[in-house]
Symmetry: C2
Subunit: 343 residues, 2 copies
């Protein structure tokens, strides 16, 4: 007892054990592990054999302690139950893994700046090397701007403040394409079912819609507003059904469009006969709505991947506070849209 191992006690092997077995110093083991130059091939082989034999795993905490790198990235997400955030998270995780990073998630329940602050702090305390924030509310973005100094950070979403590197979909151009498409089909104007007012994506999509109508010189109807959920879309749909002059609605996301369709069916409208509907996102289910939904496709996976790319560039010192990447969305035509019936 005392110093000597009883043998039955199965301690995890450490670098020194590998070194002893291979007949080298621990530093040489470290060199092999980290691919350092100037290690003779047969030495390397002996070390590798020892590693295999002992099933040695480097201790990441020890490594992190001395290198000051955890090889872990943090992701702050708003509601990872929604398709968009979930898909982005997925893209980020894949990209991170192939770049050799782990991903630690934190999902926010409330969208105020303080929550974002807390989440980022928490992640930082854990020692992440960088953070991606998927929280496209105005309040979140300004909070993020305040934090950014303490840890490398990238925002994904939307917005014009470029105090933080960020990547986003061309929300405005997508909304423009959708609206223009409807006008081109002869609709006198296009109604809009917007997302929550404090989300940047809502704002941008609404702005794209509004701008297109103004450019075309047609009347701009009042905006209906939902909270992204199908439920809120349904409620808005009931309100819209009471208006008599609606022939086309552009919804800020597909879930709300689904709710809208449901409400319109219930109130006896035919789609696209009476009313044309366009969504945003192109969730996988959109093609199977009744009728299949014309929508603006976002490549969420790509979005996540780009965000991660940006973050890694930032980590490697290619700093650039003002970077703002855009990903172009694409209008996908399906049967929920038809020409206006002119009376």
């Amino acid at each position: 007892m005392g110093t000597e191992d009883t043998g039955t006690e199965q301690r995890q092997p450490v670098m020194a054990d590998v070194a002893k077995l291979a007949g080298v110093s621990h530093q040489t083991v470290s060199r092999v592990l980290n691919g350092a130059p100037h290690v003779r091939p047969d030495t390397r082989d002996r070390v590798l054999a020892a590693i295999r034999e002992l099933d040695y795993r480097p201790n990441s905490a020890a490594r992190a302690l001395v290198t000051r790198r955890s090889q872990t990235l943090g992701v702050v997400s708003f509601d990872s139950t929604l398709y968009g955030p979930a898909a982005m998270l997925d893209g980020i995780e894949r990209a991170a893994r192939s770049a050799g990073y782990f991903v630690s998630v934190t999902s926010l329940r409330s969208l105020d700046g303080r929550s974002v602050q807390e989440a980022v702090d928490r992640l930082r305390d854990q020692g992440v090397d960088g953070v991606v924030v998927i929280a496209p509310q105005t309040s979140a973005v300004s909070a993020v701007a305040r934090i950014s100094s303490s840890v490398p950070l990238v925002a994904v979403g939307s917005g014009n403040q470029a105090q933080v590197p960020m990547v986003s979909v061309g929300n405005r151009s997508g909304a423009e394409a959708a609206t223009r498409h409807l006008l081109d089909l002869g609709h006198r104007t296009v109604h809009h079912l917007a997302g929550p007012a404090n989300w940047l994506e809502s704002q941008d999509r609404e702005e794209g819609w509004r701008r297109t109508l103004e450019h075309a010189g047609v009347p701009v109807p009042g905006v209906e507003r939902g909270d992204w959920s199908a439920r809120s879309g349904y409620r808005a749909g009931l309100r819209i059904a009471e208006l008599s002059d609606v022939t086309a609605v552009f919804c800020a996301n597909d879930q709300m469009a689904l709710g809208l369709l449901c409400a319109l069916h219930e109130t006896g409208r035919s789609i696209p006969g009476d009313i044309s509907v366009v969504g945003f996102d192109d969730i996988p289910e959109a093609a199977y709505f009744t009728p299949p939904l014309t929508t603006v496709r976002q490549d969420f996976g790509e979005l996540g991947r780009r965000a991660l790319e940006l973050l890694i560039e930032e980590l490697e010192g290619l700093a650039h506070a003002g970077t703002h990447d855009f990903i172009a969305p694409e209008l996908v035509l399906r049967r929920s849209v038809g020409p206006a019936v002119r009376r």
Copy 2:
């Protein structure tokens, strides 16, 4: 220069800095941080003040190195883009956070045992304290059973092998409730659109359906099979539409039910007039399908929470390899189901 700090160089404060400022030893600082007893209140206050003044953050890598605990849990998920896994992940993350743990995710692309093995290894190398596997394929579960020795692990999903603690929804009972409901409405039999054959959840739901039919002594039609996606449900729907005697279909998830509804509409069936449809999961959109979908509700968030609870119990030594928690699902009635039209 050399050893002395120039002052401009902003080194992160460490415990020793706090100790010096508070006029105590580093050990006392550690005591305050960890809530150890026997620290005089005014000493504690001085330490806390020093911590605040320096904005000191404990270094988690150093702590992890010595305690051999990272306060991080790993989650292996199959396709976190699907609603189910995403919602479970969300539940797990919330529960983990309130228990003081971080969550590191890895999402699998392929479902073979080797991928699961790799993912768990990766997480283990990172030093997670435990792992939750959301990967309810037969292959994954057997793989998991093999690994389990190396790190505390909990599986969430389904299955009967109880070599690993696990928590799952009562898939069989949910399927039974759905099928029985349809039979009670006078349908001569119920067709089934199943999920992938190698998923435990598919198997259990199919078994529940089959058993109910057999018990009732009605004919058991051949199974259609999809891959959980709306697309596959659509395809299956086209095949089902060619059969003449179908009046009721039980789908293994809501997305496939959506695709099925789409195909049935296209082929001129009325729902529930000609055919009744039931789904499984109760995704938030299901209430707004055309028509609103009768389905079996799973509480994914609760599932994630329970899984985490189990894992933490395991971590704290309350070991129990054979534990298997069930969460009861609930049939939610909506308009996609109606009485059989007897001819």
